[in-house]
Amino acid sequence: MKTLRLLGLGWVFQLKMLMQSAFDGFLGVLWPLFFATVAFLMFRTSGDPKTLLYASLGASVMGVWSSTSVAASSALQRERWQGTLELLVTTPAHFSLVLLPITIAMSTIGLYSMVATFLWGRLLFGIGLDIVHPFLFVLAIPATIVSIGMLGFLLSVSVVRYRTAWALGNALEYPVWLVCGFLVPLSLFPGWVRPISWVLAPTWGVRAIRSAALGGSALREIALCLALGLVYALIGILLVDTVLRSARSRASLSLT
């Protein structure tokens, strides 16, 4: 019960803080819209409304990843700058229980962008959102957000020794958009790209959302998305211990 309370309150507090930030809040919504607009303008030329809907569904997840990749990769560095990292590490709760809600809140902020992308597509490009399986669609969205948050958790732990990790998070934005098939069908890529996309939860998340909206069975994709999210979380939890042990023995926890 205590664990759930910690996760829930951590998520709420972090979400409130992110909402106050112009960079994470305002830009988090606007940034993916720039790319969605270009994609809509490009796909509009094909004249096929299905292509536009395909792009709209994919573009909606772009914002979830964007709000996670940069913020999560610099999550620990941010705590360091604020002088709160030592306090968080020394709490009796396992550090991963503190960090997980932070990164999931980051991906949750992407919901704004998701809604904004659908509205933008509807109002400016006339992209109707007729969802075939509304229940599965509603199920696929949180599954995608949570698993992307868990990927962010793994990312934040993996790059803890990289002091300017935000740059890596920034550079990872396009590759994930590309490789996970947000806007481009995976069949267009060379064969070696596909196995990479299979181990990335956003691939299954966007597939689940598309299947639910367009009429496929999204349950398998949702399950795969969540399973991969759990794997990321498990690897992250194992890494946290190693990273903290190393930081304590080198007395480098607060070094920026």
């Binding site: 606007l30 940034w31 720039f34 303008l41 590309l178 267009l188």
Partner: protein, 261 residues
């Protein structure tokens, strides 16, 4: 002589001190990896949408990515000083303001040019695009002029940084506007008329058009008009940016907001 020193040495010192992206840990992902993936992203969307050739996207996105250093580094010339608490000291000096601010722009132009040139070269190699040998030198000129005009817009963002706290947000928004409007990925003819009109007054639009014509085999003389327009737009933004810097400097003194904005 003092103004020349401020322009050259001061500009370079300020760039090295304030543009914290020069470490390889930031420079490689931001200036080498990200532009390549932007090129790939739009080239593949272009293939999926069956819109334009790969060459169209390589030239558009490589030149557009010059906007990243041009906008962010110029914004940092003010917000970086503020962060270091040196902005009031810099603005309290009797230094020639033109030399002070334009000197800071020179290394940024070189940075923007190198990013665009790398994007062009690596993008062509990655996607197997053939560019005529005769177009290489003119393309270098186009990359330089485009970086110059983007830096003109960067000077405006530097001025805005005197009033706007979240300078990174301003730069990101401008980057997005350039991405949509300047015909980077969508031909101007496919954009609504008002967007094409706006594009005519933005940096990048004419540079990208010139780059595409050159890569398609046009001569430098036939694209001279586009290149000159791009340069003129850069000059116009540079003048506007400098005027805005002076205006907001005076305003910041009057309101005592130099360190607050």
């Amino acid at each position: 002589m003092t103004a020349a020193r401020i322009f050259l040495i001061g500009g370079l010192t300020s760039y090295r001190a304030l543009f914290g992206w020069l470490t390889p840990w930031i420079l490689i992902p931001s200036f080498l990896v990200a532009p390549l993936f932007q090129i790939l992203l739009f080239a593949y969307i272009g293939r999926a949408a069956n819109l334009e050739s790969d060459r169209f996207y390589v030239i558009g996105n490589a030149l557009q990515y010059a906007a990243v250093p041009c906008l962010f580094a110029m914004g940092n010339t003010v917000s970086g000083e503020r962060q270091q608490h040196t902005l009031p000291l810099v603005l309290a000096t009797p230094a020639n303001r033109l030399a002070l601010f334009v000197g800071r722009a020179l290394p940024v132009i070189v940075n923007g040019f190198l990013v665009a040139a790398f994007g062009l070269a690596a993008g062509c190699v990655m996607l197997g695009i053939h560019v005529p040998a005769s177009a290489l030198a003119p393309l270098v000129l186009v990359a330089a002029v485009t970086a110059f005009s983007c830096t003109g817009l960067g000077l405006v963002t530097a001025a805005l940084a005197l009033r706007v706290r979240e300078n990174a947000v301003t730069s990101n928004v401008l980057f997005g506007v350039l991405l949509i409007f300047c015909g980077v990925n969508v031909p101007l003819s496919a954009l609504p008329d008002w967007m094409a009109e706006v594009a005519g007054g933005l940096p990048l639009t004419h540079g990208i058009a010139a780059g595409r014509e050159l890569a398609a085999g046009a001569s430098l003389s036939s694209t001279a008009g586009l290149i000159a327009t791009e340069a003129l737009i850069g000059v116009a933004y540079g003048i506007a940016g400098y005027a805005l810097l002076r205006l907001l400097e005076v305003e910041s003194r009057r309101r005592a907001t130099l360190e607050v904005a």
